[in-house]
Subunit: 326 residues, 2 copies
């Protein structure tokens, strides 16, 4: 099943979206918001599945209209938890090089993860507002939404806790990061709210592309309509989503609706490009001693999407414009 | 006004509590949960104030029963944001000394703050469950709950954004902290869910004790019924709550229901004791080269409360037992 939240109030209005992302229908008789839907998922499931059959059978769904990603908020516009992993250790190594910090070997065996802001997440087409001097960057990621995960859940048991999968743009303020991380308590000011894909989908929608908590498809990133990166999400993913769940749940339970990000997708094969500016800048520094690619300038547009080889978009596209200051 | 959430579902059931904390009454006709109440605060305010008058006028509130803190969840059991400041820089200096890390001078002018877990906060009488080997510690703090704070809000404008004030026990796993902070991305595993006071109160309930975003009363901490600390919350608070709000909102808005903590209350005058074990241990190391006070052992009980000089408890008491592993 595919779900979207149209902007409405603080938690959005729940829509069901057809598999081909052509049509969307509100389902207030089943659940008012995605949060409400997840809370009561087990009870609502038969009704949801029945409605999804109708919307995919052309003409069967009353009041279905064209799906409009510009009306979307994040699937969970105010989530109770956003934890972002760094599963692509290759990216971590490059990002740290860019800050002049070495990477401990333990990063290859013990996942890096931070607790991020979740109370006012951005929709897929929301503008990015920030001071350009802060060094505004995008990070294309995959994200999952969990059900209730007990404290101490093992990676082997984690697959049953993934309810939904979506895209994420983890916006980063690069020029604020060194000083803030230097204080030792992680990100507050340097990681403003992330944006999320128009549509969140159940793992069965991903078919055989979804294996062992990884998605074997390229993350397609465009900057001002030019291809910027297309690394495969399953390649060089040192920690799969099952391991990220187990890491997050080591000392605490995870509440239903917890969002966990993969970290910036990154392949060692650099012919696949990058999913964020800082990685590209680091490669330029290594090659020529100087970064050539600037951080986002007002008016810049970033597009993030994953399609199957036959061109079907799985989650719709994140398409954001950076506006500079608000 | 004073509010409590009794355990019920995922968001708790809203109760209004009398000023003397003797009686509590559910107010489902006004709002089902504190979250719902905060979301619609401006509209609900006249009805809330009227009901509060009734419950404080003895015998006027129908269906008021004895207030029972053991039935309480956190005021917001699943909040969308928990940001913990470190306003008592004296504590930060001691905690860092205990880890063998020096403190930059900038900590006296630029607040330290981390984004913590908020999706499954503990009630005031919930047991603390953790592996004793993790070095389980308490931290007695004051916390505020905000309304919608715009991005870039100044400290001068922040006072109008404080809706409620309460207590917090920011549970910390000291033996996990050095390795996790060494990774550079802040706390995930080493800061499990915090617990919060039985009652959250509007700032006007604090009278003249509440001045300039500080509370001029001692934080009273007991370990196994023995006094452990009683530092004044307004003394040596380098950053008041207005400054903490401004710091949090520099690069993003804060959604209504954001909880901001003061950090462990700590006075330079060490005759007032400590609000966490690690500070006491550090003082012992400085004095005798060795810590004498152990971290929490199964069965240990911590009590955190603030009373006025005439003995009136403002928020009720956090009273938690550490049970060891679950």
């Amino acid at each position: 099943m595919k779900f979207a939240s149209y902007k409405s109030g603080r938690d959005g209005e729940l829509y069901m979206v057809s598999r081909d992302l052509e049509r969307a229908v509100p389902i207030p008789d089943i659940a008012c918001s995605l949060r409400n839907c997840l809370d009561n998922w087990e009870i609502l499931l038969p009704g949801l599945q029945n409605r999804y059959q109708c919307i995919n059978a052309d003409g069967q769904a009353d009041n279905a209209a064209r799906f409009d990603p510009t009306r979307c908020s994040a699937p969970l516009p105010r989530a109770t938890q956003w934890l972002d992993g760094s599963a692509y250790v290759n990216h971590v190594e490059l990002a740290r090089k860019a800050r002049g910090v070495s990477m401990p070997d333990s990063f290859w065996t013990n996942p890096l993860m931070y607790q991020g802001v979740s109370d006012s997440l951005l929709g897929p087409c929301d503008t990015i507002t920030a001071n350009p001097d802060w060094g505004v960057d995008f990070e294309a990621e995959l994200a999952i939404i969990t059900n209730d995960v007990p404290m101490g859940c093992s990676a082997d048991n984690a697959h049953q806790h993934i309810m939904l999968v979506t895209l994420c743009n983890d916006i980063s303020l690069r020029n604020l990061i060194p000083e803030e991380l230097g204080k030792g308590f992680g990100f507050v000011q340097s990681k403003p709210p992330s944006s999320f894909g128009p549509v969140a989908v159940t793992p069965d929608e991903l078919g055989n592309y979804w294996q062992e908590g990884k998605l074997s498809l390229p993350m397609q990133v465009y900057l001002n309509d030019q291809p910027f990166g297309h690394p495969d999400c399953a390649v060089d993913m040192t920690f799969n989503f099952h391991e990220l769940i187990a890491h997050a749940a080591k000392t605490r339970p995870l509440g239903r609706g917890t969002i966990i990000g993969s970290g910036t997708v990154s392949n060692k094969d650099k012919s696949t490009g990058s999913c964020c500016l800082v990685e590209q800048r680091m490669l330029e520094i290594i090659t020529s001693g100087q970064p050539q690619t600037p951080y986002l300038k007002p008016g810049d547009r970033v597009r993030i999407e994953i399609t199957t080889p036959d061109g079907q978009s799985l989650f719709g596209a994140i398409e954001q414009t950076f506006t500079g200051n608000h």
